[in-house]
């Protein structure tokens, strides 16, 4: 019974339109999976509109499943008030898709680090220095220092740096789970690896579990332990990442794999 996160028969139906004659869209259909106590990276892949982001949103507590149940650390996730929300956010943190968009361009980036440090500390609210220490500690994990970040505006940092700051921020409450919804789709190839490598490191060093949502089968193959392939709200295939991708069983999984454009010129290096 020791699972960090368990989704059992989760369904999410969105309602489009108004009071009468609404249109129902089943974004996620009867999805069940779980993350064990052991830290792992779970990739969720699938075409656009397959419900990946919806799953992420439910795990993050941003939307409530229409049916089914979500358990975190053995307890059903139910958020009714601010205190419960804070408590939950302390455990599960997001990494957003576009690093350039994830920070308010009018505000300094360190602000988010300090805010997080202050709002999620157990006990007394930390003062400025404590908050800085906490931020610095988190930044070290992602290969940055507070020096490099302090007082800077988003446009003064590169996409890779921004994404790492965003991850560092998510690390401050010392969560047990990161949910990264397409964290690299907006950054170019050279930065992409920096982030993906970072995920691997965080799992090992901090014992974090990460849900990694992506289009990019190659990075999913590269970094994840397990994989879930979704199509039209349903899971079509799941298993150890390498096993599944090396030899996909479901026709859709195969189509997906075939669509990947590989630069298959055997490199000389």
């Amino acid at each position: 019974m020791s699972a960090l996160l368990r989704l059992s028969h989760v369904t999410k139906v969105y309602r489009q339109g108004g009071l009468l004659g609404r249109r129902l869209i089943t974004a996620v259909k009867d999805v069940s999976f779980e993350l064990g106590e052991e830290p792992e990276i779970l990739s969720i892949v699938g075409e656009s509109g397959s419900g990946k982001s919806t799953v992420a949103a439910m795990i993050l507590g941003q939307t409530v499943p229409t049916e089914g149940e979500l358990q975190f650390a053995g307890k059903t996730v139910a958020i009714h008030n601010r205190a419960e929300r804070t408590a939950f956010m302390k455990e599960v943190q997001p990494v957003l898709q576009n690093p350039f968009e994830a920070f308010n361009p009018l505000k300094r980036v360190d602000r988010y680090l300090f805010e997080t440090a202050r709002n999620f500390s157990a006990g007394k609210r930390p003062d400025r220095q404590q908050a800085e220490r906490m931020a610095d500690a988190a930044l070290v994990h992602v290969g940055l220092t507070l020096e490099e970040v302090k007082g800077r505006f988003p446009h003064e940092l590169s996409g890779g740096q921004l994404q790492r700051v965003a991850i560092a921020r998510a690390l401050i409450p010392q969560p047990r789970l990161l949910v990264a919804d397409e964290p690299v789709s907006m950054v170019d190839a050279s930065l992409r690896m920096a982030i993906v490598n970072l995920f691997g490191r965080l799992k090992n060093e901090l014992g974090l579990s990460i849900i990694y949502i992506t289009h990019d089968l190659a990075t999913a193959y590269y970094v994840s332990d397990n994989i879930i392939i979704m199509r039209k709200g349903e899971i079509v295939e799941r298993g150890r990442a390498r096993a599944v991708l090396d030899d996909p069983q479901h026709p859709y999984s195969r189509a997906l794999k075939d669509a990947v454009l590989a630069a298959d010129f055997s490199p000389a290096t």
Partner: protein, 329 residues
């Protein structure tokens, strides 16, 4: 192979002089290249390295603050030679769409959102066709069918189409007049893999069928590997390497190219990939000498002092790196 496009020593800068800020962004800095008839030429490079600026300049689609500082762009359309920056505006206009189509970055959003797609075809192409409306739309329908697009979509509004369909519609619009030269900026970025593959194979098909030349930009090396005949790698406003696709992937010469190619993860290859440290240079204040030198693993003293020239190392293959070519002086 006969050249369709010749670009010589092209420099295009953004000059921003406003409200306490005065800066010059050298987004295209001394680039020369040629594109052959029927060739697919890919430009790769990381974000904000000047890819878009380069092809905007080639397409003659510049507006302030972007200015062409020097160099020229020549086309050999219909047997003649056209220097796009020596032409009158209406001559340049006449070139467009007949001979030269340009699919802008973000081509999902280039269709007029408040009119049916049909009207876009009329606006862009009807004048050139010199046929009646009925015949025109028959031709359009035939073209769409060739691209596996339902002609009924002409009566849809852009927002009623998915991103991939819009992308394809734009490509159809750009190719309806079978231009000799098609320029496309990131035509597949932000599409999902399956759609992306469809779009790319469509581009390839048209190009083969019509024999057009293609210049296109993306930072996705996988796409280049699939589509391009030849690839130019741009780093911080300069062309640092140019090679036929197979050669570039199998034996990249420039350290930046090597990194680009070497860091690509592949399914079935679980080896750890290194990631490149540092950040792309600020084009308003690029580093002295080779612009890559602050991040370069093979950095030498000379790299921070002199700009490495683009040297032809073998036919069809050029590279700008002292570590490869040595100091030619």
């Amino acid at each position: 192979m006969e050249n369709l496009v010749e670009i010589q020593n092209l420099k295009a800068y953004y000059r921003a002089f406003l409200y306490g800020v005065d800066r010059e962004v050298r987004a295209v800095d001394d680039i020369s290249l040629t594109i052959g008839r029927g060739e697919v030429y890919g430009v790769a490079g990381e974000s904000s390295s000047g890819k878009t600026t380069l092809i905007k300049t080639i397409a003659g689609a510049i507006r302030p603050p972007l200015r062409v500082v020097s160099g020229n762009v020549k086309f050999h359309f219909g047997g003649g030679t056209q220097d796009i920056y020596a032409m009158k505006p209406d001559e340049r206009m006449a070139l467009r769409w007949r001979h030269l189509s340009y699919i802008m970055q973000g081509s999902m959003n280039v269709l007029n959102p408040v009119r049916r797609i049909r009207h876009s075809f009329t606006d862009f192409a009807f004048r050139h066709m010199k046929v009646s409306k009925e015949v025109f739309f028959e031709k359009v329908a035939a073209h769409l069918q060739r691209l596996k697009l339902d002609p009924q979509l002409l009566d849809a509004y852009p927002h009623e189409l998915s991103g991939g369909m819009r992308q394809r519609m734009t490509i159809a619009l750009a190719t309806i007049l079978t231009p000799e030269f098609i320029i496309a900026d990131e035509p597949t970025t932000a599409l999902d893999v399956i759609v992306q593959r469809d779009v790319l194979s469509m581009i390839r098909e048209i190009q083969r069928e019509m024999g057009s030349s293609f210049l296109f930009v993306t930072h996705d090396m996988g796409v280049h590997a699939t589509v391009s005949d030849r690839i130019g790698i741009v780093y911080a406003g300069r062309l640092v390497e140019e090679a036929p696709t197979a050669k570039l992937f199998s034996m990249p010469l420039h350290p930046y190219t090597q990194h680009l190619v070497g860091s690509l993860p592949r399914i079935g290859d679980p080896r750890t990939r290194p990631s490149l440290e540092g950040r792309p240079p600020n084009l308003a204040m690029p580093p002295e000498g080779c612009r890559f030198h602050p991040r370069c693993p093979k950095r030498m003293d000379i790299c921070s002092q002199k700009v490495p020239p683009l040297v032809t190392v073998e036919p069809g293959r050029r590279v700008a790196c002292f570590a490869v070519t040595g100091d030619p002086v």
